[in-house]
Symmetry: C2
Subunit: 316 residues, 2 copies
């Protein structure tokens, strides 16, 4: 499998008074890359260290983590169960990630928003009863306990950013990333704390209200051993939610096409393009100057969802 995960940092363009660079996590060479490949690699190491033989993953129908865990488990010869949250009507999925999963060897289990915990517990019990040693990626059935593993991924990525700064004799003034559950941002903040860096880190929320996302990031940092983390270290904006998780509008769609056509960069409207669009507006609104790094968290299958007719709830 993948050894020595790394990704390039590229200069993209000037926007107002900021020079925008992009860290191309989407080009990490395993399963379309992205932040979930870094996180997945940490989870696999942990599962192997614990002597587990079966991975249980969980996410939405569009989940990048589920796709990555199915492929990583298969690659290491481990079993994999993927729990997929499906709300509302059972319509035909419009997500390439789900189609790719259906063609993997992972066992797919569907649940609703209200039955996540019992579904995870049922799968853990059934696997244990049949002699397996399962590893649930989020820790216990309430989804806590694995924060340190998640944060390690972007703690390491932060060190790569520092190496780049040293090599190029420059420094970033501001880092932006799309924030869903906030684990990628929390990892970056962990890296900032560990290295004593002065860089600003802002998460563009793609799903949650500001307070909930901040609390989740702060709680993960504390669980992962960063007791010194304070609320003022966590900067989050929920002004670009655009109707919530998975929703997008014509502005975000324009960013998808601009990144592709002008810069050859695929992005997805659910995470990376929404985060990028939010960042552009923050740069304008706050007059942010200097070197700005955008963490491209991947989502190539979502790019193809988007261009093949996927519509956000706002329509366009």
């Amino acid at each position: 499998m993948l050894k020595n995960i790394r990704s390039d940092i590229q200069f993209l363009k000037r926007h107002e008074n900021a020079l925008i660079y992009v860290k191309r996590e989407d080009c990490i060479p395993f399963s379309f890359g992205g932040n979930k490949v870094r996180i997945g690699a940490e989870l696999m190491s942990e599962a192997e260290r614990a002597g587990c033989d079966h991975i249980i993953s969980y996410g939405s129908e569009a989940s990048n983590l589920n796709r990555v865990m199915a492929h990583m488990a298969e690659n290491r010869g481990m079993g994999c169960t993927v729990i997929i949250k499906r709300d509302g009507k059972k319509e035909k999925s419009a997500h390439f990630n789900e189609l790719i999963l259906k063609n993997s060897r992972a066992h797919l289990v569907y649940c609703t928003r209200d039955s996540v915990r019992e579904t995870v517990e049922a799968e853990l019990s059934a696997l244990t009863a049949s002699g397996h040693k399962p590893y649930y990626v989020y820790g216990n059935s309430r989804g806590t306990g694995n924060e340190a593993v998640f944060l390690r991924a972007y703690g390491k990525a932060f060190l790569e950013i520092r190496e780049y700064e040293k090599e190029k004799e420059m420094s970033f003034d501001h880092i932006f990333t799309a924030s869903g559950t906030g684990m990628t941002q929390a990892g970056l903040i962990a890296g900032k704390i560990s290295t004593g860096s002065g860089v600003e880190i802002t998460g563009i929320s793609v799903a949650r209200q500001e307070e909930a996302l901040k609390a989740s990031i702060l709680s993960a940092l504390k669980s992962a051993g960063f007791g010194q983390a304070r609320e003022d270290m966590v900067s989050v904006s929920d002004e670009y939610l655009c109707g919530g998780y998975g929703s997008y509008d014509s502005d975000i769609r324009s960013v998808v096409w601009e990144l592709m056509t002008d810069h050859g960069i695929p992005s997805d409207p659910c995470y990376s393009a929404k985060g990028f669009a939010g960042m552009l507006r923050e740069l304008e609104r706050k007059g942010i100057e200097g070197n700005v790094l955008f963490i491209h968290t991947g989502g190539t299958p979502g790019f193809f969802d988007c261009i093949s007719g996927g519509k956000g709830r706002h329509g366009f």
Copy 2:
């Protein structure tokens, strides 16, 4: 834009007595990577050196080169005209590459197989008449004259392979690649001649009969200044054509899914997966041993064409 093009070499798996490695050209971080990004970068440098301000590209509806040239021209602030060969009925395109092109700023011109030359000439004349200095990627309107530029791309890639061998203190016994027009293979052979390497290089033809492909490769090598190239340096197999360009069967489709699910590698049935499938059979049939390198020439949009219902002419 892209500087210092490089891609990783990964160990994939043992197959019979061969150890298969893959050069992940598909992860070169511009426009989904692939061999056409290397070639495109050489073409752009050449166009800029010649003081041209407009790129003319040509290819099929599924062309990766057309996509890459549109994005590269846009990125450098140059105009771009893309000529698309469309044979048969004008049905709705099933190719993501064409959809991506339609959303770029390139000017799209359609022609038939019989009208390529006159279409190229008409576009060159019209652009020149309106004060532009156009650059046609294939050289003159007959499609010759630019062989040296095309070959430079994989001559350089060959040097990267040599660096890997030196760093890892190993050497490859055999290199395989999908061969369409043969320019990638010709570039690798140019690299082999230049460095005096003893590696075997085999092209799995994805479109042409053996004799035609061999002649095309040999002719390109001679045009590019490799007068010492001999026919016995060009190894090609046309046994895995599977009905011709763009056609594929259930075996190739299985390879697409195996590479994705077991190894996290997207591939397309038109080039990379067809080449990989052909390579596996050559390894078996000829009992090839030792270190084998597969050049993954990209085609991620074709992966999504394939999984979203694209059917080869053989059906499955």
